[in-house]
Symmetry: C2
Subunit: 236 residues, 2 copies
């Protein structure tokens, strides 16, 4: 069987990190193709695709398919690599949690790019300050309240069931990203979210994730990714 190939921007965690973490946690051997071949190779790969092509990275070549959209990739891995429970009742629930995390991630990105996705932060800084205010005060706690309750309603220690799923690795990355982007605000909020912090810590201790985080495959957060630390956007 050919090794799965993940295509994503090599120098950021970004949206690709949600896929990387699931693959690493599951111990799936994959190639992070733009890391080995370079950004130009990613652009060339994207350009040459037609028909059922991805709209944007990340996309995963696996089992002869090319799958894009983070939630869709995780759905596939959940179904086909056993990274999610198979009971109908659970399967759509995990996906629902993932899609809600994706919404939170998109809103976090919108904080530093409220006006124009393609423009620089500096060209929309004044607007970002306003956007950050409402995000910190209202949207961030709304998302975390929801996810905390979702975690707390499970009998086991994970988001769902008694073993980790892709929803857990995604919670880990959401918390990591929010801590990086809003250290002051998260310091204030975190005591309200014991279940999410527990899941974050348990994911960090999964052997595959622990090895990954200690490796140079985990690039540091930076100001080209989704979660960006601009101190003027933070506040307790």
């Amino acid at each position: 069987m050919t090794k799965p190939q993940l295509w994503y921007w090599p120098d950021i965690q970004g949206r690709g990190e949600f896929v990387r973490l699931a693959l690493e946690a599951a111990g799936i051997d994959y190639e992070d193709s733009a890391r080995t071949r370079g950004t130009d190779a990613l652009i060339a790969d994207l350009d040459r695709r037609s028909g059922r092509a991805p709209f944007a990275p990340p996309y995963l070549e696996i089992d002869g398919l090319v799958i894009a959209q983070v939630a869709n990739i995780l759905l596939y891995l959940g179904d086909r690599r056993d990274l999610a429970p198979s009971a109908i009742l659970d399967r759509y629930w995990v996906h629902q949690v993932q899609l809600t995390i994706a919404d939170a991630v998109a809103e976090a990105h919108n904080v530093h790019h409220p006006i124009a996705v393609m423009d620089y932060y500096d060209d929309q800084k004044a607007e970002a300050l306003r956007a950050a205010e409402q995000f910190r005060a209202e949207r961030l706690p709304k998302f975390l309240d929801y996810l905390e309750q979702a975690a707390a309603c499970n009998d086991g220690p994970w988001m769902i069931d008694h073993r980790w799923t892709y929803a857990d690795t995604s919670i880990f990355q959401l918390i990591e990203g929010l801590r990086y982007m809003f250290p002051q605000r998260m310091a204030t909020l975190e005591p309200r979210y014991p279940a999410l912090v527990r899941i974050h810590d348990m994911v960090a201790r999964l052997p595959g994730v622990r090895a990954y985080l200690a490796s140079d495959r985990r690039v540091a957060f930076n100001e080209q990714g989704i979660f960006r630390h601009y101190s003027e956007l933070d506040g307790a």
Copy 2:
């Protein structure tokens, strides 16, 4: 079997419309619960839910489950009510298209609410003017180019396969919404997208959809929904 219950804000098309259209096209008998019982009933229903609750409407009670997130609801209907092809190759592709449509919808909403989801348009009008400019010039054609190519690569007349799926009803609604929000811009762009316009027209002629559009169940677009017509945001 109990009739499926759709819970969504009764006075707008909004995100719920993507679910309504799929249900109507498929001839699935459902209750649009907040339409029959009122907005207060929706708020009460949402408040009383705990555990595996929805983050926000729309959500669908069906087969003893409560499923939220538009793409997830459509995934379920695709799987369980045969509104999508069952081949693996096709199943994740339809979902990928739907998730990309969802991204386009979220960005369209962001045009009139760039700063704060919970605030009024008038309080972020200056920023919306800037956001609209880039959306019309760059993001809108980028999304439509992508979806046109996705449609054009299919052998049949639909987005996928030789029969309609939920991706087609969603394309219909996306085009409808964009025409309402950006009539001038869409008049300029539409000639570039023959496949999308064809799919829009074919969906409008599906017996279930035709009956729905002619009924009072289809509420008009308005300035409380996702697609809003503010003439200052449009331009050829």
